[in-house]
């Protein structure tokens, strides 16, 4: 393979791999925006929906891409359920650590429930198109990975339009910037938080289908995914849909290129090294902030 072909292939891989991190990161970003916590269960929730996708296929014979129509609304409803069920009381507390601990608890609960229900050995969703590949210009593109990218972009567009074009979406952006002022507009903070959870977990549902069709997965695979989403979020800057998606793709580049040129064993060390550098020295991310990290001092 020529150098040019290798670089093209690595670039394609970066974008295809990174887009999944990207949608996970958009979910983290929205929940962080209104709740001010890193929703550490995000990756585990993604794996949960990967299992749901697996079940829908193996038990009911529903095609994974068709199952999105079921998985995403289900995921959004579960997100709302998470908020009203376990986060609502802690959301009003000034100490954000309580909410963070709830997320940690939820993560381990789901992980262990999945161990019981689906056993710890890896599963994979296998369909007729799992092995389909395109070979444009000497590169190789797996159909399922391309579909995952399409899903990621479609999900990002839907979320972006919701945030930009609807009154509720505007309210979510406002709450991300100033929750107190949002209350003075007569906006119910619980509704805003619940919407952030609905979108965040809805995106986890989308990512779950993407992951199920691409990777083989097991219950503990989720936490690794949360960490990658967290790196993507740091790279992209919190509070920006496209930034989060781009952050995921940048992480995809870091992984693919460092794996090829430096060595597979180095990939995670390099990713986390860059994560630390970015979050320490450029907390607004690589693509600039939109003010959501700005803290308002509350004066009496």
């Amino acid at each position: 393979m020529s150098e040019w072909a290798i670089i093209s292939q690595l670039t394609i891989n970066s974008i295809l791999f990174g887009s999944m991190y990207g949608i996970a990161a958009i979910g983290l970003s929205l929940i962080f925006g209104t709740m001010r916590i890193i929703f550490l269960a995000q990756g585990t929730v993604i794996i949960f929906f990967a299992y749901i996708c697996y079940w829908l296929l193996t038990l009911l014979g529903i095609d994974p891409y068709l199952s999105i129509l079921l998985v995403v609304p289900l995921a959004a409803a579960i997100g709302v359920g998470f908020y009203y069920g376990i986060f609502k009381e802690a959301a009003v507390l000034e100490d954000r650590n309580i909410s963070l601990l709830i997320a940690v608890g939820l993560m381990y609960l789901m992980e262990n429930l999945m161990m019981v229900v689906w056993k710890p050995d890896p599963r994979a969703v296998v369909t007729a198109y799992t092995s389909w590949v395109f070979r444009p210009f000497g590169t190789t593109i797996q159909f399922t990975r391309l579909m995952a990218l399409v899903l990621a972009i479609a999900a990002a567009i839907v979320v972006f339009i919701f945030l930009k074009r609807t009154l509720m979406g505007t309210a979510v952006r406002a709450a991300t910037e100033d929750p107190v002022s949002t209350k003075l507009m007569g906006i119910n903070p619980n509704l805003v938080n619940a919407i952030a959870f609905a979108i965040g977990v809805g995106l986890a549902g989308t990512a779950g289908v993407g992951v199920a069709t691409v990777y083989s997965f097991d219950p503990v695979f989720g936490f690794m995914f949360t960490l990658k989403a967290l790196i993507s979020l740091a790279l992209g800057g919190i509070g920006n849909v496209w930034g989060a998606l781009m952050g995921g793709i940048v992480l995809g580049f870091i992984e693919s290129f460092s794996s090829y040129y430096i060595g597979g064993g180095w990939v995670d060390a390099i990713s986390f090294g860059i994560f630390l550098l970015v979050i320490s020295f450029m907390p607004q991310g690589l693509f600039g902030a939109r003010g959501s990290m700005k803290k308002h001092k509350v004066k009496r």
Binding site: A171, E177, M185
Partner: protein, 244 residues
């Protein structure tokens, strides 16, 4: 005496172990401008927050046209027409002027009258119309204050509570803001005004309350307070320009 629009009766408010308001009472009659003055940390902002439901009232009662609004949620209080323009404006700086105004009219009662409200706000502040697609954070200080007031007007306030609307503005803009407050009042908006600019506030208001370390220490007609030696010394200064 007319039926008071907003009546605060002996309220206590604490932040944890620290009590911020002690047995505070205040009356805002319908159609009036009432000024609330006092030094920094006296509890003026806390009182507004108690009325708008941002902090809990431990003791006492807050009545709106005779009905208790004690410890209702901020949404319910906004819905009843008590609108709070917070200190420092608290605009959504990453949102456009239009988006800020839209959120001002978020509650269904106000949403139904969105078009009229918008026309009124653009009539009062033509500059906002010219800048409607601009980010609120890119406006000048004066424009931001206009937007903060405009956003509050979008909610169709019956009682408008303004916290330091002249803070950080140039003398010319301060005059503009006070003129605006008078105009809004003529248009039948009842106003509770918190100001450090005591002289101007007492000039425009009919009635004033003085808060000191969480207690009302003085209240009365503004003309009388303006003539009061103690008030002049403590809050206005010799030339009437000193900020407390």
């Amino acid at each position: 005496m007319a039926n008071p629009s907003l009546e605060v009766k002996g309220i206590n408010v604490s932040y944890g172990d620290i009590q911020a308001l002690w047995d505070v009472s205040l009356n805002v009659e319908e159609g009036a401008i009432v000024a609330l003055v006092g030094a920094n940390g006296a509890g003026k902002t806390t009182l507004l927050k108690a009325i708008s439901g941002l902090v809990r009232v431990q003791k006492g009662e807050i009545l709106l046209s005779g009905k208790s609004i004690n410890n209702l949620s901020p949404q319910q209080i906004v819905d009843r027409g008590v609108i709070h323009v917070p200190e420092g404006r608290r605009l959504f700086s990453t949102l456009t002027v239009m988006e800020n105004l839209k959120l001002g009219a978020y509650i269904p009662r106000a949403r139904a009258q969105y078009a009229q409200s918008l026309e009124r706000v653009f009539g009062l502040f033509p500059v906002l119309k010219n800048r409607k697609e601009q980010k609120a954070g890119s406006l000048s200080g004066g424009e931001q204050q206009m937007l903060a007031i405009g956003r509050a007007l979008m909610a169709q306030p019956k009682i408008l509570m303004m916290d330091e609307p002249s803070l950080g503005l140039s003398p010319i803009l301060v005059r503009t803001i006070f003129q605006l407050i008078a105009t809004l009042n003529e248009q039948k908006t009842t106003i509770l005004l918190v100001e450090q600019n005591v002289y101007q506030a007492l000039k425009i208001a009919q009635q004033a309350y003085v808060l000191k370390t969480g207690k009302i220490v003085m209240c009365g007609q503004c003309e009388i307070l303006l003539a009061d030696e103690e008030i002049r010394k403590a809050y206005i200064g010799e030339r009437g320009s000193k900020r407390s």
